[in-house]
């Protein structure tokens, strides 16, 4: 890493919490952006060396290759259970899961709901791209009505396939959770807001206040069959109306911990 050249000031560099490994994500995919935000937060909080991540099954299955801190790789949907096991024997460590919508809202619905219901003192970074990316673009529980996927070739028919599941809203109804918000990565302003939320989520955990989750609206240009820039428009125009950007639950104590 070059930190100094003649008369130049370093304004941007790889966070220490990321490895040098180039990511395998498709062009325009926002997983990389989300990784970077998490890494920046870990750096800023100085917790890289005491944090354990739990990777999902999905496109971010290899998250542990990109993050420069301890990591385990869970079975599909089970990351919150695995994180629970880790946190219960190492309560002083920071533990977070990083999950997609298929992983979290379909096969892992039981694990996420109960980790939240227990107020498990972990952080969940939940990337909602409304599709199964890794397996080539099938319908996920968060696929929009009428949205075409390889398993809804005529568009998601709500009569037979039901409606999108809004996880942030559902989870925010549980008494034990402290911080549940939805953010989006479709433009720089929202990316900055997402980072702030990620930081608050980790701070919530650091102060022992229990379950925190940031749902992050993300793009999947490859499987949406849209260009990267059109994908960002799709988030803004199609996804946000269904998945509003909002704070769904913020424990009033959180203001105090931030000082």
């Amino acid at each position: 890493m070059v930190s100094e050249t003649n008369n130049a000031t370093l304004v941007y560099e790889r966070p220490e919490s990321l490895t040098e490994m180039p990511t395998f994500y498709c062009p325009g995919c926002t997983h990389g952006t989300a990784h970077r935000l998490v890494a920046e937060v870990l750096d800023e909080m100085g917790i890289r060396e005491t944090t354990i991540g739990v990777a999902p099954v999905g496109c971010s299955v290899f998250a542990y290759n990109y993050f420069n801190h301890d990591y385990v790789e869970a079975a599909h949907g089970r990351a919150p259970a695995m994180a629970t096991g880790i946190k219960r024997v190492l309560p002083k460590k920071m533990v977070y899961t990083y999950q997609g919508d298929g992983d979290l809202a379909s096969i892992g619905m039981g694990e996420i709901m109960h980790a939240a219901a227990r107020g498990e003192n972990i952080t969940v970074i939940y990337l909602n791209n409304a599709i199964y990316g890794m397996t080539g673009g099938q319908m996920s529980p968060t696929t929009l009505p009428n949205m075409k996927t390889t398993s809804t070739p005529l568009g998601r028919d709500v009569e037979v396939a039901g409606y999108p599941i809004r996880m942030a809203e559902i989870i925010s109804n549980l008494d034990a959770v402290s911080y549940v918000v939805r953010r989006s990565l479709h433009n720089p302003a929202n990316i900055r807001k997402t980072k702030k939320a990620v930081k608050t989520a980790f701070q919530t955990q650091a102060s022992g206040m229990g379950f925190s989750m940031v749902e992050i609206l993300s793009s999947c240009p490859t499987n949406w069959k849209l260009s990267p820039s059109k994908s960002l428009e799709f988030i803004e125009e199609q996804m946000i109306p269904v998945y509003p950007i909002a704070d769904f639950k913020v424990n009033p104590e959180i203001k105090n911990i931030k000082g």
Binding site: R48, E49, T50, D70, V72, E73, A81, G85, I86
Partner: protein
């Protein structure tokens, strides 16, 4: 220390605690529930991890997570719950982290019933989850043995980075028996060098996973697991024998069936019948060679189980057709009485089988029908 009257499941749970278990994750299911209840009381008071999970799927994945940190972690369940855990079991095996799982087996398949059974032999011994892996399986036959082997299970799990199943049936889980617990051991374990414990200062990051996306790497892992299995076979086979030296009839039975057979053997000896008992304690690694040796000495064998003859197949592999093998089993949650085994011993003694190539199960089913008729 003196022996006290201890209830199976509670004693097993306390044994696990004293062996240094720092994380227990489970879901209630008869006949193993007292295990979880004991943990619910004791683990928090010791400041150790306990969660009543939302399902066995979650429970095993909590065990997986805790095991990845290098701490001693376990679960206890019963047959249908163990089935649900098979996904996590395969991941634990693929990640090569140590974990101990107690299965208090009950009648099946399906929901079956809550009565004692040995019907999970194949699932436990041969794998059950997907992929190539080899758990260690211990089958105690008394409360004391279960206490001892749960302690051993943690040591073996750590030594080989292996899954260890301790399988008992509802009889042992539910019975009260005089037994002695080991002293509480200190939690002074050295964190293994592979552990993902979030102590990255001064070392490279670590990660644990069961992914080997390149088949070449997966094959390397498969080979490593197989070599470990072979090493375990060399070092860790355990079994118990009674009256075996001059035995012409050898009974092979594990767990509760072995205990029932032991009573029958004693009675038969009083009648002057030369019969002995071979009770495998490690079902995996299975004592093939030891049983083969007995086949060189005895005239026939009788395998007794509380299933349809799952271990019978492994005994047949050991005996290699050298002597006839008969089978006697009860199923569905029924525990045989010593008299049933005694009658089998007498029958074999009166008309020793000579045919090594007959269908032991078919012959047994014919006899069993009459026995069940007599019971009704």
């Amino acid at each position: 220390m003196v022996k006290k009257l201890l209830k199976g499941n509670e004693a097993f749970a306390e044994a696990a605690i004293r062996a240094g278990c720092e994380g227990f994750f489970g879901y209630p299911i008869t006949p193993s529930t007292e295990f979880l209840e004991h943990m619910a009381k004791r683990m928090p008071e010791l400041g150790r991890g306990f969660v009543q999970a939302e399902s066995e799927v979650a429970a095993i994945n909590m065990v997986y997570g805790a095991a990845c940190t290098g701490k001693r972690a376990m679960t206890a369940s019963s047959s249908p719950g163990i089935s649900l855990m098979m996904e996590g079991i395969s991941y634990i095996a693929g990640t090569e982290v140590p974990a101990v799982i107690v299965n208090v087996m009950r009648g099946g398949p399906g929901l079956g019933n809550i009565a004692p059974s040995q019907g999970d032999y194949n699932q436990m011994v041969k794998g059950g989850g997907h992929g190539d892996y080899f758990p260690i399986v211990l089958a105690p036959a008394s409360v004391q043995e279960a206490i001892d082997y749960i302690t051993l299970a943690f040591d073996l799990a750590d030594k080989y980075r292996s899954l260890v199943f301790v399988i008992v049936d509802g009889n042992l889980g539910q019975m009260m028996e005089p037994a002695e617990l080991p002293p509480m051991r200190d939690l002074d374990f050295i964190t293994p060098e592979w552990a993902v414990d979030g102590e990255t200062e001064g070392r490279e990051r670590r990660f644990l996973s069961s992914i080997y996306i390149d088949p070449k790497d997966e094959e390397v892992t498969n080979i490593r697991l197989l070599r470990r299995k072979l090493e375990i076979e060399k070092n860790e086979i355990l079994y118990h024998t009674e009256e075996i030296d001059d035995a012409e009839i050898v009974i092979v039975a594990f767990g509760t069936a072995g205990r029932v057979a032991s009573t029958a053997v004693r009675q038969a000896r009083q009648e002057g019948i030369k019969v002995g008992l071979f009770r495998p304690i490690t079902l995996s690694p299975f004592p093939y060679k030891e049983i083969e040796k007995l086949a060189d000495q005895a005239k026939s064998m009788l395998v007794a189980e509380m299933n349809t003859g799952m271990m019978l197949d492994d005994v047949s592999l050991s005996v290699k057709g050298k002597i006839p093998i008969e089978f006697y089993g009860r199923m569905g949650g029924i525990t045989p009485f010593p008299d049933e085994i005694l009658d089998e011993i007498r029958r074999i003694n009166n008309s020793p089988p000579t045919d090594t190539d007959f269908n032991a199960r078919e012959a047994w089913l014919d006899r069993l029908e009459l026995i069940i008729e007599g019971e009704n």
